[in-house]
């Protein structure tokens, strides 16, 4: 950075500093995948001093990739006009006017920097402070003379005319919405431009406290209603920036800093302006059609944990365990993006057959093969494969982004395919969703699939009704969950999860026997043992493998050795399904009785209820506190499973 060696203009050259400041900065930047904005700015200045305008311009644009610091954005935006001419001219251009309800002197040039970073040549116009209404109302204003393609209405909640507590909130919100939509209409009719409206961030200080949410007339409640109203009324030519979400993202204590308002009528804290500028630019870019269309994904350690070619289907982490859950969350986020129209492609260094195994065989994969438009697995150089994917899909390289856990592959793509944006994943998969979500060019202007949208609405309405009914009593609640279980003998794919449950389950565990993986394998091989797991899913979630039962045949008796359930599915009657299955197994083997033991532990004694509520009879109470129970299948019949539908594997 600049303090590595201060500017040579004012101080004599120090021969001890053998490295020029630019070289030192470049060396530092080479070690970083995502150099901070200040470093990019310093490097740009270094190249400018050497008269290398083009390289300076390229580094200057990279300032916009990091929204954490204000200073490089301010300086970079100010420097941009003097170097932008030496960069290759982009194919697209836009005239952007910003009309603010607060001081926008810092924001406007920053929007220019961000839009240019997204590959759009930009002309800017800044309206005078809080003259948004006048400039739109006066047909002869400088705003109309500028002839914008886009007008950004940079508004803040202080500019609304909503009072602290309104007697007729509905009318007040309607009137306020009309004020803003009238401005949209003027811009549309007189300038023929598209509108980018900043929605209102709600202040963090709530005069009515938590009561405020129950008061439709409280100002904050009305601001939320106003945002919703404006979102409803925005037509195709109105793009919205959800400032309430952005403020929450940086933290409202950082978004609102009243010193700036009191000193300079600046409603958004300076530290939050880079984010606001970049998000505004992303929405404009989406409007121009520059959003990315396809995410090219690596597989090993990107979609799942581990290496499929080495670890095999049952060795990779997906779905179960902390890392498995993190990868699953990332897969689900990808599916959410897919639902907005973004294509998913795969580019993996793997044997083609291996690469497909998890999709075909692993029960916990959320992304399926038919979610993927182009599946490339092999040993070719990734930049070549990505070129092929783009060609096959008929997309430009600049429509693609690349997601890979390997810094080596990322560097190869950055170097050889500068048009492809590369997402830098953190080493912890729990951070994958955020890393991708913070990439700005996945905005879509609207969801085009109206039909699907409508179906979703109907489904939601139907669900709301079920929700209402579900709270009346427990049986209704259980039925409403629409629980579906798979109960099957323990197989290779699930044995490690089963072993994990046996090792860790404390709360709902009849005997708390900690069998080792070896013992489990022996039981599986022995015809004396009945063994099965249960996987449960319901309307809301797929819980995966959550229960294990082990029982040993002994003449006419089936003796329950282990019966346990994960704490996340306690209280849903899954235990009935397990016992019901045990009854069937007993009859199949010619056993007439179930026998079970309950060994109390220091943990909560939930499991004891199991025997009592399902008709077992107490046989003996032992000295160690354990109890033995007995159920006569032949006489008492099958234990009923009322609420869980059993599905075939």
């Amino acid at each position: 950075m600049s303090q590595v060696a201060p500017g040579e203009a004012t101080r004599p050259f120090d021969p001890a500093l053998t490295e020029a400041p630019l070289d030192a900065d470049l060396r530092l930047a080479a070690q970083l995948e995502a150099p901070p904005g200040q470093l990019c700015l310093d490097i740009a200045r270094g190249y400018l001093r050497q008269g290398e305008q083009t390289t300076a311009g390229q580094w200057l644009l990279r300032v916009a990739d990091d929204v954490d610091e204000f200073r490089p954005w301010l300086a970079g935006a100010a420097l941009l006009p003097s170097v932008v001419g030496s960069l290759p001219a982009p194919a697209r251009s836009a005239r952007i006017a910003v009309l603010g309800t607060y001081t926008t002197s810092q924001l406007v040039p920053m929007i220019g920097l961000a839009v240019r970073r997204f590959g759009v040549e930009v002309e800017l116009f800044e309206g005078d402070y809080a003259q948004h209404e006048q400039q739109l109302l006066d047909p002869g204003s400088t705003f109309y003379a500028f002839a914008p393609d886009y007008v950004v209405i940079a508004a803040h909640e202080g500019a609304t005319r909503l009072s602290r507590l309104e007697g007729d909130p509905e009318s007040a919100v309607a009137a306020e919405a009309l004020r803003w939509t009238s401005l949209w209409r003027l811009a549309r009719e007189r300038a023929g431009c598209r509108i980018v409206q900043h929605l209102f961030a709600v202040r963090p200080e709530a005069p009515f406290g938590h009561l405020g949410t129950r008061l439709p007339g409280a100002r904050d409640t009305m601001i939320h209603a106003l945002n919703a109203r404006l979102s409803e009324e925005a037509g195709d030519d109105v793009l919205l920036v959800d400032c309430e979400r952005l403020a929450a993202q940086v933290g409202k204590r950082h978004w609102f800093d009243d010193r700036y308002w009191h000193i300079a009528k600046q409603a958004v804290a300076l530290g939050a302006l880079p984010l606001l500028a970049r998000q505004t630019a992303a929405v404009v870019a989406a409007g121009i059609g520059l959003s990315k269309k396809c995410i090219v994904l690596d597989l090993d350690n990107t979609l799942w944990g581990g290496v499929i070619g080495e670890d095999g289907v049952d060795g990779i982490a997906i779905g179960e365990g902390p890392e498995g859950e993190a990868f699953l969350a990332f897969q689900r986020f990808l599916l959410d993006l897919k639902a907005t129209g973004i294509l998913l492609a795969v580019c993996s260094k793997n044997n083609p057959a291996d690469a497909r195994l998890p999709f075909d065989q692993h029960p916990d994969m959320a992304v399926r093969l038919d979610d993927i438009v182009a599946f490339e697995a092999g040993w070719d150089h990734k930049p070549d494969v990505i070129r092929r994917i783009a060609a096959d899909l008929g997309l430009g390289l600049d429509s693609l982004i690349f997601v890979d856990d390997s810094p080596f592959e990322r560097e190869a793509v950055r170097r050889e395919l500068p048009d492809v944006d590369v997402i830098v994943l953190p080493s912890d998969p729990s951070g994958y969703v955020r890393a991708l979500s913070e990439y700005p060019l996945l905005e879509s202007v609207r969801l085009t699939d109206d039909d699907r949208h409508r179906t979703a609405q109907y489904q939601a309405r139907k669900r709301a009704k079920t929700e209402e009914a579900a709270i009346s009593d427990l049986p209704t609640f259980w039925r409403s969950l629409d629980m579906r279980a798979t109960i099957a003998p323990i197989d290779d794919l699930r044995i490690s999860r089963v072993a994990q449950l046996i090792a860790k389950t404390n709360q709902y565990n009849l005997t708390t026997k900690r069998h080792s993986l070896d013992t489990l394998q022996q039981m599986r091989r022995s015809s004396q043992w009945v063994h099965f797991y249960a996987a449960l899913r319901d309307r809301f979630a797929d819980h995966g493998v959550v229960a294990v039962v082990l029982a040993k045949e002994d003449d006419s008796v089936l003796e329950i050795d282990t019966l346990l359930m994960s704490c996340r599915v306690i209280g849903r009657t899954l235990e009935q399904a397990l016992l019901s299955r045990l009854c069937i197994e007993a009859l199949d083997r010619g056993c007439t009785q179930l026998r079970g033991r309950y060994v109390p532990t220091a943990k909560i004694a939930l499991a004891n209820e199991l025997f009592i509520t399902n008709g077992f009879i107490l046989v003996s109470e032992n000295d160690d506190g354990s109890t033995d129970w007995h159920y006569d299948v032949a006489e008492q019949g099958l234990i009923q499973n009322d609420y869980v539908t059993i599905e075939a594997l």
């Binding site: 303090q3 901070p36 200073r71």
Partner: protein, 83 residues
């Protein structure tokens, strides 16, 4: 030295790569150091040193010496390496 750091910051904020500062540099005499630049510069200083100026300080700081003094009072001693 704090003054070197401040010089870097003012070069960025005022977009002048050749700018040179001393403790005696007065706001009124430095081209571009207007009220808007004052807000920008003081925030850039806050960001760099992790300090916070009061509304009053925003108005009272008029020279680089004032600024350096205020930083010293806030416990900023000398140049720290950036992250």
């Amino acid at each position: 030295m704090i003054i070197d750091e401040l010089e870097d910051i003012f070069r960025d904020v005022l977009n002048d790569d050749r700018l040179s500062l001393t403790g005696d540099t007065i706001q009124a005499e430095l081209p571009g150091w207007d009220s808007l630049a004052q807000v920008n510069a003081l925030f850039a200083v806050e960001e760099r040193f992790g300090v916070r100026f009061s509304t009053r300080e925003f108005q009272r700081i008029r020279t680089i010496g004032d600024l350096a003094q205020s930083l010293t009072a806030k416990g900023v001693t000398a140049s720290r390496p950036t992250a």
